[in-house]
Subunit: 547 residues, 2 copies
């Protein structure tokens, strides 16, 4: 028998239809250590996901914290246009009720119940047996169907499905389908599967369940195979894929939305009649937004959204490419929303011209937001020879207005020279009180941050502690803007469960950008302390964990 | 027919044996725009690849430039212990001769010939027909076999194989095998393949060629499927995989060595008796070295080598993981060389203690290099409370001695304050002449760099132009060291073909680190100008391009 003869003809016999794109950037993605978002930031990502036209936005895990509950509820309230809003819940009293409360206001609520099914998870984590797991699963799916009515979307996930004993897995999927589940999710929780075997597993579930439920997959990337496993599952009959922007997620992350969507789009022959409704031109703006807000860089060689993914954008003009782009290009940069223009825009021709330019870059703004960006761009043009596309995008991303300003800056100065200590001084208003301080440090940023600490501590009773610091030039040239990212915790809050926030700063002066980022983080930490909500925290998750 | 019945049982019928790991970080990886390495840097990566025990190091493309030729030759001279050194050559008069000249000194030379075979490449890039392509391929394989003798390794690649008409592709592979090729490489040049179809293609080649040549694959990652395509090929009979550290490479890069190797290691049941000889504990040091030298970040959610790939390393201690690591861990961080210790090492207990600590971190140094790191660590301990593992690794990576210092620093100072210009002054020795300058700028780094430009221009007749600038804190805390990366070109060298070099700086003072990085880049640019060699350049590739 030749190899060809035994190659499966995936897709044959599978009914044609739409593939549902289930985005879990705000749930599984946001669980990545250090990726924590505020409620306002989650809402902003949800709006971009709506522009991207995904089918389902998984907004969070409402039982995890009040902050997550509020964020899910706000997204459920706001999201319209046929996009479903999902919330995660364990099969455990309290969780499903809380999730239903959060998504009840959605135009299309989507409840996502889960329980672990692999022996290793049952024995070592949940300390229950298979019968217990099946009973709880069935119980909560039934409850959900009775509570939400016959048309609601009820999804059941068997956590660690790819390491679950086959007969038990098929039995539990059959049982929850009978109990009313409309979507069955098969997670490769630990990123263990290989495409051929994962496709075969999906095929077995499909054989057992038929058309009685939609089959979904949720793949992790520990061996670099999340996208491939997802696509193998689609070829074997899965009709929902759980994915994240930039492949964000715990450990090595989840299957990347942009890779899965562009593979479907680029290779229609492999995925007959399965085009999803995603507006691919919104992929690059979505990637940039998530990277900016989480502070997680996208590596240059990341597929689809890396800065080198379209080489000819990077100054390399290969002979073949110049003769015919098809020699090296299987999709166009425009199709993923990457503007062809990387040239300086020179002079801004008024607000209208700026708006048009931003449209080209995939950013749709007007009113006050446009005014603010326009003012910032004009002021930037005073300190910098050329205002580039990258500069504009950085200005757009700069949204410090979201954060309540209880620490405000009046002025600062630093000096530093070879062979000596650096000196920094700062003048602030901290919760209404004027405070100034001078400090020395092993560098000017260190000196300035120490001065801030000294100024805020008497009022707040804590100071920010820096856990990460990064600067990137927004564009080429010595007069470029520096974009600073810091991560901080409160000095009063230690250990692995400490609340960590990000702060951003943007200026042609990296000292000023650093200070701005540090103060933004201080304000976020203060806001979180005051409200107890609104900031999503690393390590806040409860005991048992998630698919 | 159930799904299971049509799932291929890959591996059955494929003779068990070793899989050859062919690393092309220094050839295809180094072609990534902006990744250019100096000859000394390439040699350093080659040494790490030897510690990793790959089977073949593809060292470069000798016909591309004198610098690349010299680097390949040096690596060929130095690499021993049964590791082959490969060089790339087009099937075009001049190329193969040059490649053979470069690798002739190797213990195990491996010649890698290629020609494009897809109609789109033949028609639009090479402007020849299929018969021409086959004739040239056969001609140069024959030449190589006659020149190198019967035991030499001669590999033939059909560029853009995955888009080549099937019958022609099989014919050309058969023809070059008859002409003496011992390895047939199947590149997915544009990252277009889907695992099931790529596995099927490999199977067809295997059916035609049998055991008359080793089948190799070379997969690009444009759709995020390079690792999966590589593994599907192995399951279909490929016995050489072309991969790169960190998945570095043109556009979205190549299949990632660490992902492919760890998938084989973690899922032996899927790849029976195919363990490669790679020392996986060297993966993390290799990843860090390549990332440092190329200046290409590895994203936190990169599989195997991302900073979050092992979540429990990042402060998240999930309930399940604590009860039993196997609940969420399919491989240990130790197996990929990630030290369990992220604690501060506090006081360094002498040179011997430092050496032991470095060994744990996967770094093997002694003699002068150890002395230098020890001195740097002691001096760092004076300005920083705690010297961490990350600090030590940063000191190890700091190798400015490689660069000839024609511009030397005597001293500098800066000052900056809110609402005003920044001032910087610098005092240098430029090619033996003392030079000092003061400048103002829109930030202190800008002011200082402008002062450097003013000081060097009268002597060098150019100044460095900054094209990229990044700072990262090496560890947490406000007194952390800042690691600066700059990319620069000469002001006299413009356009997309401009020579771009990287410069690194490391200091607790980010101004000092920035200056150090800028001067290192200036020295590299000067060295390249003087020697015309030794620096590998972006955009230097010749007309027709590579798999």
């Amino acid at each position: 028998m030749t190899f060809e003869a035994i190659t499966p003809r995936f897709g044959e016999g599978v009914p044609a239809g739409r593939l549902r794109i289930f985005d879990t950037t705000l749930r599984d993605g946001e669980q990545a250590p250090g990726a924590g978002l505020t409620a306002a930031e989650k809402l902003e990502v949800a709006r971009q996901l709506a522009r991207l036209k995904v089918d389902v936005i998984e907004a969070g895990f409402p039982a995890a914290s009040q902050g997550d509950f509020d964020a899910v509820r706000q997204i459920a309230q706001e999201t319209r246009g046929g996009i479903a809003v999902a919330a995660l819940a364990r099969c455990k009293d309290g969780d499903p009720q809380r999730a239903v409360e959060a998504i009840g206001v959605a135009e299309r609520p989507h409840l996502h119940l889960f329980i672990a099914t692999s022996d290793i998870h049952l024995k070592h984590k949940l300390r229950i047996d298979r019968d217990d797991a099946r009973r709880e699963a069935v119980r909560w799916v039934k409850w959900a169907r009775e509570t939400l009515g016959r048309d609601a979307e009820i999804e059941f996930s068997a956590e660690d499905a790819s390491r679950t004993e086959d007969d038990f897995l098929l039995d539990i999927y059959e049982a929850v389908t009978e109990a009313g589940a409309s979507t069955l999710n098969i997670p490769d929780t630990v990123g263990y599967a290989i495409p051929a075997e994962f496709g075969a597993l999906v095929g077995r579930v499909k054989d057992r369940i038929g058309d009685n439920a939609v089959i979904s997959v949720h793949c992790h990337n520990d061996l670099g195979l999340a996208t491939a496993n997802t696509l193998a599952a689609v070829q074997a009959g899965a009709r929902q894929v759980e994915v994240t922007i930039n492949g964000l997620g715990e450990r090595a992350g989840n299957a990347s939305l942009e890779e899965v969507v562009m593979a479907l789009r680029t290779r229609p022959g492999q995925f007959p009649q399965l085009a999803a409704g995603v507006q691919t031109e919104q992929l690059t703006p979505a990637s940039r937004l998530v990277s900016y807000l989480t502070g997680f860089a996208v590596q240059p060689n990341k597929a689809i959204v890396g800065s080198n993914a379209f080489a000819h954008e990077s100054g390399i003009h290969q002979d073949g490419y110049l003769k015919n782009p098809l020699t090296y290009e299987i999709m166009t940069p425009q199709s993923v929303g990457l503007s062809g223009s990387t040239l300086s825009i020179g002079k801004l021709s008024g607000r209208r011209g700026l708006q048009g330019k931003l449209m080209e870059l995939g950013v749709d703004v007007d009113g006050e937001q446009l005014d603010a960006i326009y003012r910032a761009a004009i002021s930037l043009a005073d300190t910098k020879k050329e205002v580039t596309d990258a500069d504009l995008l950085a200005l757009v991303n700069e949204r410090k207005s979201d954060v309540p300003r209880s620490v405000e800056l009046l002025g600062w100065s630093i000096s530093s020279a070879s062979g000596g200590h650096s000196v920094g001084s700062v003048s602030l208003v901290v919760a209404g009180e004027a405070k100034a301080a001078n400090e020395t440090g092993n560098g000017p940023v260190n000196a300035l941050f120490k001065a801030v600490d000294e100024a805020v501590r008497p009022v707040l009773h804590w100071a920010p502690v820096l856990t990460e610091y990064e600067i990137k030039a927004v564009s080429a040239g010595e007069d470029a803007q520096g974009q600073v990212l810091v991560r901080c915790r409160r000095s009063s809050d230690e250990g692995p469960e400490a609340h960590i926030v990000t702060g951003h700063g943007l200026s042609t002066n990296i000292i000023e950008a650093s200070l701005e980022a540090y103060l933004t983080a201080a304000n976020k930490l203060h806001g979180a302390e005051v409200n107890g909500i609104g900031v999503a925290f690393v390590g806040r998750r409860t005991a048992e964990e998630v698919p």
